[in-house]
Amino acid sequence: MKLDSKIPEGPLETKWQNHKANIRLVNPANKRNIDVIVVGTGLAGSSAAASLAEMGYNVKAFCFQDSPRRAHSIAAQGGINAAKNYQNDGDSVYRLFYDTIKGGDYRSREANVYRLAEVSANIIDQAVAQGVPFAREYGGTLDNRSFGGVQVSRTFYAKGQTGQQLLLGAYSALSRQISKGKVKMYNRHEMLDVVLVDGKARGIIARNLVTGEIQRHGAHAVVIASGGYGNVFFLSTNAMGSNGSAAWKAHKKGALFANPCFTQIHPTCIPVSGDHQSKLTLMSESLRNDGRIWVPKDRKDAEAIRAGKLKPTDLPEEKRDYYLERRYPSFGNLVPRDVASRAAKERCDEGYGVNQTGEAVYLDFAAAIERYGKTEANVKGIDNPSAAKIKELGTAVVEAKYGNLFAMYEKIVDDNPYETPMMIYPAVHYTMGGIWVDYNLMTTVPGMFALGEANFSDHGANRLGASALMQGLADGYFVIPYTIGEYLADEIRTGAIDTNHAAFEEAEKEVRGTIDKLMNAKGDSSVDHYHKRLGNIMWNKCGMARNAQGLQEAIKEIRELREEFWQNVRIPGGANEMNPELDKAMRVADFMELGELMCKDALEREESCGGHFREEFQTEEGEALRRDEDYAFVSSWKYTGDAGNAELVKEELVFENVELKTRSYK
């Protein structure tokens, strides 16, 4: 099999404009006869569904929550990037493109990333027009902040709730189309399979999560915008329901799955507190703008802190190791996520961790509070302010910037982060891997598209902060509405899709078979029991650091666990009613296969790049060792009936505009 990424000819700067100008159009009368299914209503799905409906297509949208407004995108905190150069700090489309390629450790496609940077500015305009209340300066213009891995301020934000505000904007656009009857919304519905007729995506099988009813839905194209699969690790910053099933089902029906092992471990999350833990909470990366990360210089001090005999605030400056500032003087606390996470793990593995489990480092705001306090005192014309006054003024500034995050921290940890440093540790956060798509965002199955975190494009081996929101909305508002026409132009004579076709029959039968099998296992252990065990294997052997032996073991263990799961899982209740245990079981069953493919992919990629760190491939200083001659390609996996026997198809990455360099943040 050969992959055709369909990258348009011509110079990087004009590819998208030229392509857009030449994409075939579907005239308005024909659009009325074309149905599109959108699975997912996060930023990518809502924006796509709304835009496609505005253009005249008939859209059916699906989400498993009780409302489209609750998609996991709502939880994004820090912000969204855009090359607006409002700060006049030298930002440009090219710089955003370059930062993204470099940040992704040279494992993404130039043309896609350039387009992303190009449309980024439109996203901000669109969101503001919808009434998204971004943070503003006193002059009334939009404010920006900076994020890890870059040296300009291009991140737009709405306090620590940027995802919420952007999603509510997209949700309002979607609601407007629902009210016009152009979108039919299916809340509390889960897609369980894609249906292919003559090799083309022609619909889905869905389950009504309230009644258990199995439904067939036909359409001329199916757009998967179902988010990422970080929950394969059980513990992650994703919402509880986030899952990989829609993407996995698409994969099993023929869509190649790209770079599954590229997962992002976010450096600033609240550490695990005990066995009861059901999820992990992110403390936005924006905090690294003002927080300084450290552990004690001396192991003995770390031990004393762990034993509760020493307080971090009692440790003098000279006894603290600001290890990011030490190792990476030019980027300091703002190194990209993968680098920051590994550095934290390295210190904790060496015995410098600062909480009871030994897996936590400090994120300290004392210096920022003092700095802001002094500035405020100056602004207010206070001469010789007392230390207490400075602290008071500085605390107010920090509160205005991060108040909601600090409050969230205090609720969870029961510690006041204005008084004592926060404790943080890396956690699974985002998946760069996903369904392989071409430049038009079409998968290897004709008529099936993938958007947002569900696809693999744009972020390579590591995503920069504030770029997922940008990508989701770029895909949904500004790419798919055009590129889908290229495919649908050939569908104007197809007519309504017949859901009585044998292919629907068969897909439905298969779904019912899976449900019966799960319900009838009647074993001893809960779904969560298996999910936690899977998560443990993944975190220990396919997490922040990986090696061949561990990955081989993981594959074996996952296969055994999967076997046991199908024999021994226990799902109470019935299949024809609301049954969250059954919903979870279906998702975990897919994670059990996807997890194996992730390990296989990690094993095959004998280099370290971005979020993928293979212990065998590192420099003497412990930095990642990329191997461009052998691995500058996208690993795309073809399903062959068993996740373990997937076939590797390579998409070679061609870099015509940037020079491949060792990523250095020193």
Binding site: A50, R69, I74, P133, S278
Partner: protein, 250 residues
């Protein structure tokens, strides 16, 4: 800690529900309220009983999916906190905790503690948006400066998570706080002003159609709101509504 739980169990919308007693042991003070519920469900599953159904997703206090009346209070005892962010350290060993669903005609129970809040979606569909298509040619975002105070105020209103606690808290089951938060956000911004009159009329009309009660200025909504949406929103909406009604009756 060890706790006694009294939990509302209801098989579906058409059956009558009742409070059932459960006992749970060894709950960590550091676990969240929903993690305590997970622990209970794990025990129920092991015993071969049906776990308790409740809604939740983000567990970060932002998606608005979680609900629960805890000891008679929507989202429980802690101020400005959703159920998913409430931690067990707020309870004491030996406590008895009552756990019930939102109670409102407009929010029918689906199963156990899960209710149907789609009425909120329909209110937004009635006008909770700015009518602007996606084109790529919209006005530059900085072309229209917005005073910081207005932007901040609009943001505060926009932080509503659509959880429905305001309705659950209100003796009249009024949805005024929820509706007014959206009306306020959009009417405070120049982008939303153009349609402000129709918006408020249509949204209020839909609110009434959904069977939410009238507002009699009790203020329980704002007290229980996990996002501290203020009563000023209601006052603003009332002004907007009055202005719009006068204009439309002219």
């Amino acid at each position: 800690m060890d706790l006694k739980l009294k939990i509302w169990r209801q098989a579906n919308q058409n059956t009558k529900g009742e409070l059932k007693d459960y006992a749970i042991k060894n709950v960590s003070a550091d676990s969240s309220f929903l993690e305590m519920m997970d622990q209970l469900n794990e025990e129920l599953i092991t015993k071969g009983e049906e776990p308790v159904v409740f809604d939740h997703d983000c567990r970060e206090g932002i998606c608005g999916m979680c609900s629960l009346h805890i000891n008679g209070e929507p989202h429980g005892p802690q101020n400005a906190t959703t159920t998913c962010q409430l931690h067990m350290r707020k309870f004491k060993d030996g406590d008895t905790i009552y756990i019930e669903p939102w109670r409102s005609r407009a929010f029918p129970v689906i199963k156990d503690l899960s209710v149907d809040r789609n009425a909120f979606d329909r209110i937004i569909e009635a006008g909770g948006y700015v009518s602007v298509n996606t084109s790529g040619n919209t006005l530059d975002a900085n072309a229209m400066p917005v005073p910081k105070a207005d932007a901040d105020e609009a943001f505060n209103s926009a932080t509503c998570i659509g959880c429905g606690a305001c309705v659950a808290a209100c003796p009249n089951a009024s949805a005024m706080l929820f509706v007014s938060a959206k009306v306020s956000q959009l009417s405070l911004l120049p982008q939303g002003k153009v349609e402000a009159k129709d918006r408020v009329l249509n949204m209020v009309n839909q609110m009434d159609l959904e069977g939410f009660g009238n507002c009699s200025n009790v203020g329980a909504c704002a007290e229980e709101c996990p996002k501290e949406i203020s009563l000023e929103n209601i006052a603003r909406m009332n002004r907007e509504y009055l202005g719009a009604s006068l204009a439309s009756s002219k």
